[in-house]
C-alpha cells in the first residue's frame, strides 16, 4: 500500500487571494481527499444588524464582499423593499442592473487574471487586469468608488447617471469588447492553457445539482440555472439566455465565464437603450415588519439574503448564504483524483470568495 501523506494547503498560499485551509491527503502525487476548514476571517457582520438600523445596514451589507459589493447591497435593499412593499422607480431598477453587470464584468476579469496566475501565466494575468482597470474607471466615474460603489440604498439608488454618460459607457464597452476578446482568446485557444484546463476537475451534471453548486460552476456542468431569470431589478425586461456548457471541467467553467463577459456587455447595451426617465428613489417611511428571502445572481452564483424584521428600526435576524459557501462541497468533490499541482487551479475554478463565505 502506498504511504499516505497529508499536506496542508492554505490559509496562506501564493494562489489564494483569501484564506481557506485544505488538508490534502495524498498517495504519491495523487490527492485522494481534501478536508476543508474555514473561519479565518469571520467578522460577525450578520450580528451587526442589532447595532445598525435597517437603513444604515446597507453600508455593512456592501462591505461583506470586496468584489460583488454592489450586488450584496442591492440584495439587502431588495429584501427590505419587499418586506416594506416599496415600489422602486423604473430608472433605479435599470441603474441597478447596469451596476450589477459592471460588477460581473470586473469580477470575471479578476477571476480570469487570478486563474492565469494560478497556472503560471503571469503576462496573461497582467493583461486581464489591465482591462479590468478600465471597467473600474467606469465604475469610479459613475459611483464615486472603485470597489465599494456606495450607490445602493433602500428605496432606489443614490446616484443618477445622465443619458449622455450612459451612451458613452455603452460605446466604451463596445470598444473594450475587441480588447477583451483578444485576451480571452488566449484562455480559450492557447495550447498550454488548454493543457492545464481541459479534463481537469470534472464535475458531472448530477453531482453538481446534488451538491447544490451555484453560478458558473453549476452552469458549466450543463444545468440551466441563473437567478437573473427571476426578473429582479430590470432583468425581467432584458433579453438574455443563461450560458451553459456540458463538459463540467475547468475549461468549461472558464468558457462560461468568458461568454458571460460578452453577455454582460450585451445586457448593458440593452439597459442603456431601454433606460426610462424618472425619479431614482422613493422616500422610505416607517419600519419593516415581516420576513423575506431575496435571491440574486452574483458573478459567483446565487446569493440569498434572509431578513426578518419585527417592526422596530433594527432587524431581528439577517442571514446571508453566499455562492462560495454553496460551491465548497463541489470543490471537495472535484479535488479527489487530481494531482497535487492541479489543486490551485481547481480551488480557483469555483471562484472562491472567502470573506463573503465567512462574513
Amino acid at each position: 500500500m502506498t504511504k499516505r501523506t497529508i499536506i496542508p494547503f492554505g490559509p496562506q498560499h501564493p494562489v489564494l487571494p483569501e484564506p481557506i485551509h485544505l488538508d490534502l491527503v495524498l498517495e504519491d502525487e495523487k490527492v485522494i481527499q481534501a478536508i476543508p476548514s474555514i473561519g479565518f476571517i469571520h467578522r460577525g457582520l450578520e450580528k451587526l444588524v442589532e447595532k445598525k438600523d435597517f437603513i444604515e445596514f446597507v453600508y455593512v451589507a456592501e462591505r461583506i464582499c470586496g468584489i460583488c459589493s454592489f450586488i450584496h447591497g442591492m440584495t439587502y435593499c431588495i429584501a427590505i423593499e419587499e418586506i416594506m412593499k416599496i415600489e422602486v422607480p423604473e430608472r433605479a431598477q435599470y441603474l441597478r442592473t447596469l451596476w450589477s453587470e459592471l460588477s460581473r464584468i470586473h469580477s470575471h476579469l479578476l477571476w480570469l487574471g487570478l486563474t492565469a496566475d494560478a497556472f503560471g501565466f503571469e503576462s496573461l494575468f497582467m493583461h486581464t487586469w489591465r482591462l479590468r482597470e478600465k471597467i473600474l474607471d467606469i465604475i469610479e466615474e459613475t459611483t464615486g468608488g472603485r470597489v465599494i460603489f456606495g450607490s445602493a440604498m433602500v428605496g432606489g439608488v443614490r446616484r443618477d447617471i445622465d443619458n449622455n454618460t450612459l451612451r458613452a459607457i455603452a460605446r466604451k464597452l463596445r470598444d473594450y469588447e475587441a480588447e477583451i476578446k483578444e485576451v480571452t482568446d488566449v484562455f480559450l485557444n492557447d495550447n498550454s492553457v488548454k493543457h492545464r484546463l481541459i479534463g481537469v476537475g470534472i464535475l458531472s451534471r448530477d453531482k453538481a445539482y446534488e451538491l447544490g453548486a451555484v453560478g458558473p460552476t453549476l452552469r458549466a456542468s450543463g444545468v440551466v440555472s441563473d437567478s437573473r431569470k427571476l426578473g429582479y431589478a430590470a432583468y425581467g425586461k432584458i433579453d438574455f439566455t443563461p450560458i451553459t456548457h456540458a463538459d463540467g471541467d475547468s475549461y468549461a467553467r472558464c468558457l462560461v465565464r468568458v461568454k458571460e463577459l460578452f453577455q454582460s456587455i450585451d445586457i448593458i447595451e440593452q439597459v442603456v437603450s431601454k433606460m426610462p426617465e424618472g425619479p431614482i428613489e422613493v422616500k422610505v417611511n416607517g419600519t419593516p415588519n415581516g420576513e423575506f428571502f431575496a435571491r440574486t445572481e452574483q458573478p459567483r452564483g446565487e446569493v440569498i439574503y434572509y431578513a426578518k424584521a419585527d417592526g422596530s428600526r433594527f432587524l431581528q435576524r439577517l442571514r446571508v448564504r453566499t455562492p462560495t459557501f454553496a460551491n465548497i462541497p463541489a470543490l471537495l468533490n472535484i479535488i479527489p483524483g487530481c494531482s497535487l499541482a492541479d489543486v490551485p487551479v481547481l480551488v480557483l475554478t469555483i471562484d472562491p470568495c472567502i470573506s463573503c463565505t465567512e462574513r
Binding site: 445598525k52 444604515e56 453600508y59 455593512v60 503576462s123 496573461l124 493583461h127 489591465r130 482597470e133 474607471d137 469610479e140 466615474e141 459613475t142 459611483t143 464615486g144 468608488g145 465599494i148 456606495g150 443614490r158 446616484r159 483578444e182 485576451v183 482568446d185 488566449v186 485557444n189 492557447d190 495550447n191
Partner: protein
Amino acid sequence: MSFFVMTKTILKSLFSKPATEAYPFKPRTYPKYSRGSIAINTADCIFCGICARKCPTQALKVSRDAKNWEIDRLRCIACGACITVCPKKCLSMKNTYSAALTIKQKETFSNA
C-alpha cells in the same frame, strides 16, 4: 492546436506606451464624483449635529456650544450620508483623499 496566440497582444504592448501612469511624476487625476473625503464650510454650519447622529461609523462629533465640528478621518468611510442629511448643505465631498496620518487624531473645524 494553436500556439503563439498571444503574439499580437505582446507585440502591441511592446510598441505602445505603458498602461500604468508614471505616478509620482504625473499626479493622479480623480473623477469628478470620486468619494475622497468630506469637507465642511464652517461659515454656513449651524452645528445642529444631525450629521453626527446619521453617521454610520460615528466618525463625526459636533459640539453646539463650542461651535466645533470634529471628524475622525480614520473612521470615516466617505459614504456621504452626512452630506445627504445636512440641512444647510455646508458639507461636501472632495474627490481627493485626506492626507495620511502618523498618529491617530481627529480634525477639528470651528466657527468660534
